[in-house]
Amino acid sequence: MTEASISVTQSVVEKFTERYLCSLGCSIEQSDDHWEVSVPEATETVISQGKHMLIRGEVNPDDDDENTKRLHPESAFFQELLREASERSPSGKVSIETDSDIEIPEWIHHSSVEVENAQFTPYYDRIAIVVLFRVGIETVSEYQQELLRAIAVDTRSEEILPKLAETFLDSTKVETETATSDDVQLTKTNIRPLLETARELLLKNVQGKLDSIHREASRAADSEVEEYRQMQQQRIQELQEKHSNLSSKINDLSEKINSGDEDSRVQALRERKELKSEYEELDETLNELQERRDSGFPERQREIRERHSLDVQVRPLTLTEVEYDRGEIDFELVDGSIHQTVTLGYGSGIGVADTVRCSSCERKLTEGNPIRAISDGLKCQSCTKER
């Protein structure tokens, strides 16, 4: 699944800033290393009304001041501009044009068959929502990761439309100028269940990523547990040594009690009593530790695993109502001197909507199993190879 984030290069920064400021009514005079921006009255934006200088790139080490800002991917000014723009209109509407480029399916694209002509006939309008979700994944052993993903859902069928999400991302790059409006038809009530569907799909889509972070985190927790176990084992050994020392000391004293004079017997008895009580205490600690070890230090394990658990925060950031057309497409296929027309379900922005199978072996036509012959129905590569 495509990551929706855009690499922030200097040219992208400049393009976005120029468009954004102009859309607010600002005027910009550009020269090689700086821009002069005039912000008109009553414009609410990160820079105040009046004239400002934007220095391009990181060349100038001076700090920003009221009227001079730096413009580069990491500049404070640009970050502030992004925050402002992102909050300005998080919901809206776009239309995917019927006359947008025809999407040739991979199973034709990767074959020797050529498309001579393609004619799309739209039958009805459809509406989908596309939501940009930020997924933040946090755990103690890994750097925090943030993903941005686009999920498209048809409003009527609740069908997931991955191709439409891709088209949406393509048409909202910084280089493109897709027309959007804020005139959303759908209501909150319509949207809530769709949002739920989108969330479920999102989690499925990021599952692979989550799994790998999950495994890493579990490994980290596991090695911490193992480290703890080894430490405790070491402690057990130390205690056992002490235990056996005490035991031999007590035995020595017992001999003294049996053989010595009265004074030394009394002294030995006193000492033995002290040692015995120490021995018992030690014995108890040791037993308890061994017991915990034998059961695998469950509490400590729980504590460690809790600390390493993954905290996944999902936040919908933008919501776009997307109008697209559904209908049928006629592909006129040519293979040498043979011509053949196929009609398939199609949607603008989503491409061919039908699953197409080989007319001979019923295998699904895919990028890996493209079409091979068109003279007598559509035949796939696998079955023409088998012959």
Binding site: E84, S91, G92, T180, R305, L319
Partner: protein, 584 residues
Amino acid sequence: MSGYDLVDIEVTHESADDLLDSLSEDGTDGSHLQSIQAVRLQAGQPDSELRSLKELDENAVKLLEHQVDAAYRALFEMDGKALLADEVGLGKTIEVGMILKEMHFRETDESVLILTPAQLAKQWQAELREKFGLDFVCNYDDEFEDFDAHDYIIASIDTAKSERHRQTVLDRDWDVLVLDEAHYVKNEETDRYDLIDRLSYNYAFFLTATPIQNELTDLYNVVSLLRPGLFGTRDVFHQYFVNNNQETLVNRDELQDRLNKVMIRNRREDTDIDFTDRTIDTRTFDPTPKERELYQAVSDYVKGAYSQDQGQKLVLMLLQKEVVSSPVALKQTIEKRLYDQSELTHADELESILDLIDEIDTVTKQERLLDIVEEARDNVEMGRVIVFTQFRATQQQILDRLASEGYTVHAFHGGHSSSEKEQIVEEFEEEGGILVSTDAMSEGRNLQFCNILVNLDLPWNPMRVEQRIGRVHRIGQKRDVFIFNMALKDTVEEYVLERLYHKIDLFQQSVGELSSILSRLEESGTSFEDEIFERLVAADSEVDLENDFDAMAVDLQEQRELADKLEEFNSGVFEGFDLGESDD
């Protein structure tokens, strides 16, 4: 490690209320797109880019993805010290051009030194100027003074290391060093290695298609010049990466990881370069008896004059070339010699040659050229054909002849200004017909819209031949290319063509392959043209001459085989730059 217990995952869905509330808010058209873009940018990472890309003239250079990628990686991921080791023909020069253009844009190139094998220096200069608008002085230019007098220099590595210049080169702190055919510095005991080792520079780009020439130590030496310490000491490198019994690689993964920090190697199969087919049609013709007589007279004269005075070599070589190009070209040169130089030996011989020229009424090659252009007029889009000749006099005569036959003709030679040249190429594209050009065309101009090329005469320098072909057979040519070579039987031209050029498959070499063969040849201290001439004048008989040319062909073939073997060996070692399974 297996059998670990998995930690918990807690997923929290933050409320969508704010987002849903925004549905009812009024905004302006277009602001939603900006919000989407802002969100996508907030999630993105700051990234470097090649900012000079958009400054390039798309008509002058069409960059391929792997080239842009290599330039990017060399600059930003390898901190400006990289070994560009693409397989031959993938455009390493273009990659360096892009890198230098970017550095120029970012003003980090106050002084740049490009060191190349001698015969590639001018080609580098032309490519950088025409494709990237970068002006370099070449050590062969008249204006070249010394290595401290210019900031952008292309020089032969041997000039730079020579007694005369060495200290000046070393005294300077260069911003950028480019070293072409970097495998020449594989041997740490040579003066070349020593020069590069002592040079002071901030950024360096080394180019070679074959980093390993003989043994793995070559790779160690080249890489260590760029990144001292990357492989540790020579002993450590050997112990760790080389299996001494079999001279094979061990610890490949580790080697690959380290090489990845400094070396970029693209393979042909990973790129989208796809050349169309090239058909070679070599036509040899029987000269008329008069032409034969003239050829013999000129050859005898050249031989005799050279045996007496070797200082005349250049002009004698010229006569020998002109006699197979056209009598008119020969005539001009002889007349100039006769009338400009008062004390000329052998004047009567030259006078009699002039008489022979005057007796010629049919010029065989020109007559036969009409067959080719007529065929083209009937079969090729707008009958476009490019005819190359080395001589202006021949060019003029052909132009007149073709025009008199009713063909649309265009002339292109070094005397035109660069805007005139552009105009001529444009007219040729629009009007079609026949463009008759001298080798002034060979530098930098692209004529992919034409796919038929005629070599009316043949340069004795194979690089020139390749440059001619390269004008039409290059990335962007969509049709198959047809090359016609014309030669008169039993002349030097036929020998050069049949015995040398065809032996090394010159006309089928992909761009760049030839330079690796010729660079090897140059390494052995041989100039191709001199070699041909020397053999020609030294031969006592026809049989001698044939044997001589055959011997030269064997040399060439050996160089070619060596170049092929090396390329193959390197492909094996660096297979996909994935060094494969470890031997250990």
